[in-house]
């Protein structure tokens, strides 16, 4: 257990830039851009005598009916979520490349010989990298997202309060605590959903003698093309798109948080709800919805495939002696 903790620590040391600084910098840049946009709006507003918010807005809020209030809240929620979404995409990219390099980079620079000179089993080594990808990276990204999302909410509220709008009332309209809960609760689901992609990427990383990225992308893409070409899916009474969606995308893109939403029909319904009465963008992401995925065979077959691929990665980690 102690060894495993230090293995995780080692991964963090090596990938501090990707796991910690990438989300932090993304968040900071996002906030800075927002502040700049606000300043630009203020300057333009002042120059053209255009009035943002102000008494009118305050009055609007005071007069608004329940539906309008919800809409304002939804707007603030979306503003908060957008920063989280950007950080999520950055994290997906980090995890994708982390997995591809995890079992390859140390073979290339031969430092694998140092790691292998220590009493650490290959299973633990690979597992520590999997946990880094599907737990450590998302937890850090979520924590950073929360700070950035809340900071953004506060910035908007402060700006509006300069125009005489009650900031706390505005924040009360948004749902920061629900957003926090939603994001935190999404981590376990993300971990399960990402397993097949992490498995495939790490399998390539352990197996490829060079250019793991090329192999990881080319193999599913070429198979996908062949499947499309010869209409193989027709044999199973499935459209060709099924292969692209359930094999190719799952193998490569499941490391992106929220990618499961595309597959979950329930969320589409939620999206539709959002369309007509929805003043609640968080509904799409709410655990009530997303965890419906636990009932889907897509998730569990993916986990199974991922575990098999990871077992293959462990095997190649032991066998490859090209360093």
């Amino acid at each position: 257990m102690k060894t495993f903790y230090w293995l995780l620590k080692r991964e963090f040391w090596e990938h501090r830039g990707g796991f910690l600084w990438a989300p932090v910098i993304t968040g900071v840049v996002f906030l800075v851009l927002n502040v700049m946009a606000v300043i630009a709006a203020e300057v333009l507003g002042a120059r053209h005598g255009f009035h943002v918010g102000g008494d009118n807005l305050q009055m609007m809020i005071a007069r608004a009916d329940a539906g309008d209030i919800r809409q304002i809240g939804a707007g603030l929620d979306i503003a908060m979520l957008s920063s989280m979404g950007v950080i999520g995409i950055v994290m997906g990219i980090v995890v994708l490349f982390y997995c591809l390099g995890a079992l390859y980079d140390d073979r290339r620079d031969r430092s694998i010989l140092f790691w292998k000179s220590l009493p650490i089993s290959n299973v633990n080594t690979v597992l520590s990298k999997v946990v880094s990808a599907i737990v450590v990276a998302p937890v850090i990204a979520v924590l950073v997202s929360l700070v950035v999302g809340l900071a953004q909410l506060v910035i908007y509220a402060l700006v509006l309060s300069l125009h005489g709008v009650n900031a706390w009332q505005l924040i009360g309209l948004a749902h920061p605590f629900r957003a926090v809960g939603t994001l935190v609760s999404s981590i376990p689901l993300y971990a399960l959903w990402a397993v097949p992609a992490v498995g495939w990427l790490m399998f390539c990383s352990a197996w490829a003698r060079n250019k793991p990225f090329l192999w990881a992308v080319a193999v599913p893409a070429v198979i996908g093309l062949l499947v499309s070409w010869f209409g193989i899916m027709g044999l199973f009474n499935l459209p060709t798109a099924w292969f692209w969606k359930n094999i190719v995308q799952r193998a490569l893109l499941s490391v992106f948080p929220g990618s499961s939403l595309v597959y979950d029909d329930g969320s589409l319904t939620a999206g539709a709800d959002f369309g007509d009465d929805g003043h609640d963008p968080l509904a799409v992401l709410s655990p009530m919805h997303t965890y419906g995925l636990l009932a889907s065979p897509n998730l569990w077959i993916g986990v199974l495939a991922g575990v098999v691929l990871l077992a293959g990665a462990v095997w190649f980690r032991r066998m490859r002696d090209d360093s």
Partner: protein
């Protein structure tokens, strides 16, 4: 004496080449063994087999364990330095010490810090900022603080200047080696390790061509400085090798009668490098 490594019929084939060809040997505890051979002779493959880094055919027993299936236990007792600069470039001195201290049950932190104190390394230094010599100092400090029974060194001083090379072997002898430890070392800089070896193994084309202890080398092999007029007599005794120096011939004999040799000229113990060159004649031809 108890055997640390026993190999019987050790064989390893790569795609089309035979790297190890039914090799059998035994290494006892408390020895420093030099595994010497030309490039591509199978030295590294043999070491990799001992360390469980590669698959092979035949029997191999290291400290009573099978390196293929019991690698994780084996690595608690075995350390290795596989030529220079294999420490990960991103790691800091502090991190490396912390990590090894926490994953290796036989690591002595105080000892390691003692070794590091004698160098210019600072805790915050990263491997990528170090010279080759400093990397080896760090690696050696880590390895010498581990109470392992077998230390495997594969070209540990490759590319180092002579100060670092001397210091490397000196620390090994002074601060590390004792009768409970065994060291296996491969290198091309034979002259430098000649005086520290207790045993010698020559490997050529995947076969062990010489396996002897250093005392026996002096008894078995002899080098004679023969003047030109006696050279023909010497040639009839089938020398391993002959070379010319200042109008005289130096002959290298394997197992020849001492008294006969002494009649021909000055007899001395051959250096390992001369013995090596004679044994490996025609390797690249």
């Amino acid at each position: 004496m108890n055997a640390v490594v026993t190999a019987t019929g050790l064989t390893k084939t790569y795609k089309n080449a035979l790297a190890l060809d039914h090799v059998s040997f035994r290494i006892d505890s408390g020895r420093i063994v030099g595994l010497i051979g030309p490039n591509g002779a199978g030295k590294t493959t043999a070491l990799k087999a001992i360390l469980g880094l590669t698959d092979f055919q035949g029997e191999l027993n290291v400290l009573g364990l099978d390196p293929r299936s019991q690698r994780d236990q084996l690595m608690e007792q075995v350390c290795f330095i596989a030529d220079v600069a294999v420490l990960p470039r991103w790691i800091r001195v502090r991190e490396a010490v912390d990590f090894v201290a926490n994953v290796h049950p036989r690591f002595n932190r105080a000892k390691c810090e003692g070794f590091l104190a004698r160098t210019k390394l600072t805790p915050d230094m990263r491997v990528k900022q170090m010279s080759k010599g400093m990397i080896v100092q760090l690696h050696l400090a880590l390895v010498m603080a581990i109470d392992a029974r077998l230390l495997v060194l594969d070209e540990p001083t490759l590319g180092l200047d002579i100060l670092y090379r001397k210091q490397f072997y000196q620390s090994l002898l002074e601060d590390y080696f004792d009768e409970n430890k065994t060291i296996i070392v491969t290198t091309h800089q034979v002259e430098e390790i000649e005086h520290i070896l207790t045993d010698l193994m020559f490997i050529r084309d995947g076969k062990i061509v010489l396996d002897t202890d250093m005392d026996a080398v002096g008894e078995r092999f002899a080098e004679v400085l023969v003047s030109a007029d006696k050279a023909d007599v010497a040639r009839r005794l089938k020398p391993l090798d002959e070379r010319q120096v200042f109008g005289k011939s130096i002959f290298l004999f394997d197992g020849a009668d001492r008294s006969v040799l002494e009649d021909m000229g000055e007899v001395r113990r051959p250096s390992i490098s001369d013995l090596f060159v004679a044994t490996m004649k025609g390797t690249y031809a």
